[in-house]
């Protein structure tokens, strides 16, 4: 497989870019933030997304989706990263749709996947509990009770958790924190008794929630995949999410970089364009190289996911680690090279810096993934 977009993928990118840059430039996010919009994204725009086939992009055709792959999902994520459009695409269409497609039984798939495809159902994975992404440390307890389970514990950084119609909750049915055995995924209705949702207003003005589960009763049909054996399913779903977030960060980095280079070509000081100064030229060139390398690593990871999710872990770790360090560098250089303007709220660059910070934490930061690679390589 060549590491370049096919003609179809380029067309997909163009149509996603057309819609997103037209309907949701950075000012769209700014408007939602300033209005303290209770939803935090545009439902109307999400319907347009669904009508263009994006909401069900990864959903198999038999369930009303487009049946496309992770490279295509990455293409859309990259465009989202360019304008920072808040959208359920990541949580619902990438992560939750993958969890349901890969782990769901026939009844679960036919109940939820068509609704994801037509944009009527929002779903999200609830995984993190502590300050950092540590999936195996999952400690939310699911205790057998009658025909089902009772869930108790808390989740943080649940993307779109304040508006989701369905939670996919990682819980511990056996073993203790740190162990692979004993993890189970549950489908939970946010309106179930004992669920408390607190919307968290975050630095990036995107959408997430903290969720508490107090003896929440779910029946046996709510188990996604197999009881106690959820780790493998979770690994795959998380890797898919990581690949998608890496793509968003590539788009974000590229956009910030493009804006910064334009500024270097227009801002004058000491009687010259600041882009004439070698100190800035070399830093810009280094950043360009970093972004191109990260772009390639991310494409490689998405292709690896398309080939075999279970064997993509190392490629995904490389991509997410690189995406984190590259985006961090891109936004810092972006602010620095814009000088005082970069520090103002009125200027868009700051939005990119804030989003990059959140993306870095989502599904594991660069340190986490670098550590994973070291372990995989046996040292």
């Amino acid at each position: 497989m060549a590491l370049v977009l096919t003609e179809e993928q380029s067309m997909l990118r163009d149509s996603a870019r057309g819609l997103i840059s037209d309907k949701a430039p950075v000012s769209h996010l700014r408007g939602l933030r300033d209005a303290k919009d209770p939803t935090g994204f545009s439902k109307e725009l999400w319907q347009s997304f669904a009508e263009m086939g994006f909401a069900g992009l990864l959903v198999p055709e038999e369930f009303g989706g487009s049946g496309l792959g992770f490279v295509e999902a990455g293409v859309v994520m990259e465009e989202i990263g360019r304008t920072l459009m808040p959208s359920p695409f990541l949580a619902t269409s990438v992560v939750a749709a993958s969890a349901l497609s890969r782990g769901g039984n026939a009844a679960q798939k036919s109940e939820y996947l068509p609704k994801i495809s037509n944009g009527s159902l929002l779903a999200t994975l609830a995984i993190d509990e502590g300050a950092k992404h540590r999936p195996l440390q999952t400690n939310l307890q699911a205790v057998r009770a009658g025909n089902g389970f009772k869930l108790s514990g808390a989740k943080a950084l649940v993307v779109d958790g304040h508006v989701a119609d369905l939670f996919i909750v990682a819980a511990r049915t056996a073993g203790s924190a740190g162990e692979r055995e004993g993890l189970t995924l549950f489908l939970v209705n946010p309106k179930a008794r004992g669920v408390a949702v607190e919307r968290t207003i975050m630095v990036d003005a995107h959408n997430a929630a903290r969720i508490e589960f107090a003896n929440v009763e779910v029946n046996a049909d709510s188990v996604l995949g197999e009881v106690d054996q959820g780790a493998a399913l979770l690994d795959g779903v998380l890797d898919i999410g990581r690949g998608a977030v890496a793509s968003e960060m590539v788009g974000l980095s590229d956009e910030v970089f493009g804006r910064t280079v334009e500024y270097l070509k227009s801002r004058k000081q000491f009687g010259k364009l600041i882009g004439e100064f070698q100190a800035l030229q070399h830093r810009a060139a280094q950043l360009y190289v970093d972004i191109e390398i990260t772009r390639a690593a991310t494409m490689k990871a998405l292709q690896a996911l398309d080939t075999d999710v279970a064997k993509a872990a190392s490629a995904v770790a490389v991509a997410k680690a690189r995406a984190g360090t590259t985006a961090t560098r891109a936004v810092q250089e972006g602010v620095q090279m814009h000088g005082g303007m970069g520090m103002t709220d009125q200027f868009d660059i700051g939005f990119f810096m804030k989003r990059a910070r959140v993306c870095e934490e989502l599904f594991g930061d660069a340190n986490y993934h670098t550590e994973q690679l070291a372990r995989a390589r046996g040292y």
């Binding site: 060549a2 590491l3 370049v4 280079v261 270097l264 070509k265 010259k272 364009l273 882009g275 004439e276 070698q278 030229q281 070399h282 810009a284 060139a285 280094q286 360009y288 190289v289 191109e292 390398i293 990260t294 772009r295 390639a296 690593a297 494409m299 490689k300 190392s314 490629a315 770790a317 490389v318 991509a319 680690a321 690189r322 660069a366 993934h369 670098t370 550590e371 690679l373 070291a374 390589r377 046996g378 040292y379």
Partner: protein, 399 residues
């Protein structure tokens, strides 16, 4: 790709894998450990081992020393997709390149683009068959990063040019049979406009070489002197005084070559090499957590660069590559290779300090470490590469 093309390619993969399995000697399935272990070809070439000879000859007979060159010039005539399959299968098996050659990496691509038919017919098959070893006459004592200020003169005399001057940092000039050389054919023109790209035999009267001893204790580079060397004008590649176009095109290939010089993805992982000397704890983690972090970060960057190198080839084949992208790769690849050797030296500790002993294979590691310091200088310094990226790719203003 259509379904039938995909099926053909899959069939090619199967056949290639089977052929490589049957024909690549086991000794050739691990990386070369010293320069003597690399086969460079040429009039005076010697094989360092029987497996090396067998592997070279088998690959040569299939045209796979230069798999993607046209068959009429001794190549394998493979398509871009087939070539990628062959490289992937060779990498999977750890198969070494059968022939290393500046003719393959640098001159060949330039001749294919700028050479006339007679030049292609004369030189390309000899490169493919490893019969002629080439060196590159570019840098001069006063023309390093500022290559275009070169002063070696070529004066017109009937059907010949008479060449006088000095080159420096000529890799393996003392082993080379022929040289591709930049000379000034019009001293009155602006510096980029009076240069020609010319080929000649290193046994010509008036050519002499003198190896330069480097900090590694090796002498891979020479000073090369031309004292009235007579070369037919028909040996000019491309147009007289337009040699800079050829030179730049060739430099892109040289930079791609140097960026690929690191031992990416072959052999044992760096972390395991480090474990040999540093040791591991009960969970198998390196017993030096800071070194472990450095290695892990290196591994991330190395894997990402490998993906980018693969993508660069794919982009070139799709006609989407920026011509200056090899400068970006050259910059990153060489800086990364220096990082690799700093880690190896740190991991080796005291053991990596020995310079002359059997135990240390005559200081193989510290010498290789020192050698890498030239990576970010030769073929254009890192600073020059960043300048090229800034100006040609990012289109930043100035000079």
């Amino acid at each position: 790709m259509s379904e039938s093309e995909a099926a053909d390619l899959e069939e090619f993969r199967k056949q290639t894998r089977a052929w490589l399995e049957a024909n690549c000697p086991p000794e050739m399935r691990k990386p070369a450990t010293s320069d003597a272990d690399v086969f460079w070809g040429g009039r005076n070439a010697k094989f360092s081992s029987e497996p090396q000879r067998i592997w070279f000859e088998r690959m040569r007979d299939k045209g796979w020393t230069v798999p993607d060159w046209p068959k009429e010039y001794g190549g394998g005539g493979l398509s871009a997709a087939e070539h990628k399959v062959l490289r992937a299968e060779m990498a999977k098996m750890g198969a070494r390149p059968p022939l290393s050659s500046f003719g393959i990496w640098m001159l060949g691509p330039a001749l294919l683009k700028y050479g006339n038919e007679a030049q292609k017919k004369e030189h390309l098959p000899n490169i493919a068959a490893g019969l002629i070893r080439w060196c590159q006459g570019y840098s001069e004592p006063n023309a390093g990063s500022d290559l275009a200020s070169l002063q070696t003169r070529a004066e017109s005399d009937g059907d010949d040019f008479v060449i006088t001057g000095q080159k420096i940092w000529t890799s393996y000039a003392n082993y080379a049979d022929w040289i591709f050389c930049l000379v000034r054919t019009d001293p009155a023109a602006k510096k980029h406009d009076g240069i020609s790209f010319i080929l000649f035999d290193m046994t010509s009267k008036g050519v002499s070489t003198k190896p330069i001893l480097l900090i590694s204790g090796y002498s891979p580079f020479c000073e090369t002197f031309f004292d009235g060397v007579r070369v037919p004008k028909s040996h000019v590649v491309g147009t007289v005084n337009r040699g800079w176009d050829v030179a730049k095109y060739l430099l892109q290939h040289e930079r791609a070559m140097i960026s690929g010089m690191g031992e990416r993805g072959v052999g044992r992982p760096l972390g395991q090499i480090a474990a040999d000397s540093v040791g591991s704890d009960a969970q198998g983690k390196l017993d030096d957590s800071m070194l472990r972090s450095q290695i892990a970060s290196f591994d991330v960057d190395e894997a990402a660069l490998a993906a980018c190198a693969e993508r660069a080839v794919d982009l070139a084949k799709a006609g989407q590559a920026h011509p200056a992208f090899s400068s970006a790769m050259k910059y990153y690849g060489t800086e990364l290779n220096k990082r690799r050797y700093e880690i190896l030296m740190s991991a080796g500790g005291v053991d990596a300090l020995e310079w002359e002993s059997e135990r240390s294979k005559q200081g193989a590691r510290p010498r290789a470490w020192l050698r890498t310091k030239a990576n970010s200088i030769e073929g254009g310094t890192s600073e020059v590469m960043l300048g090229i990226v800034a100006k040609r790719i990012l289109d930043l203003p100035g000079a």
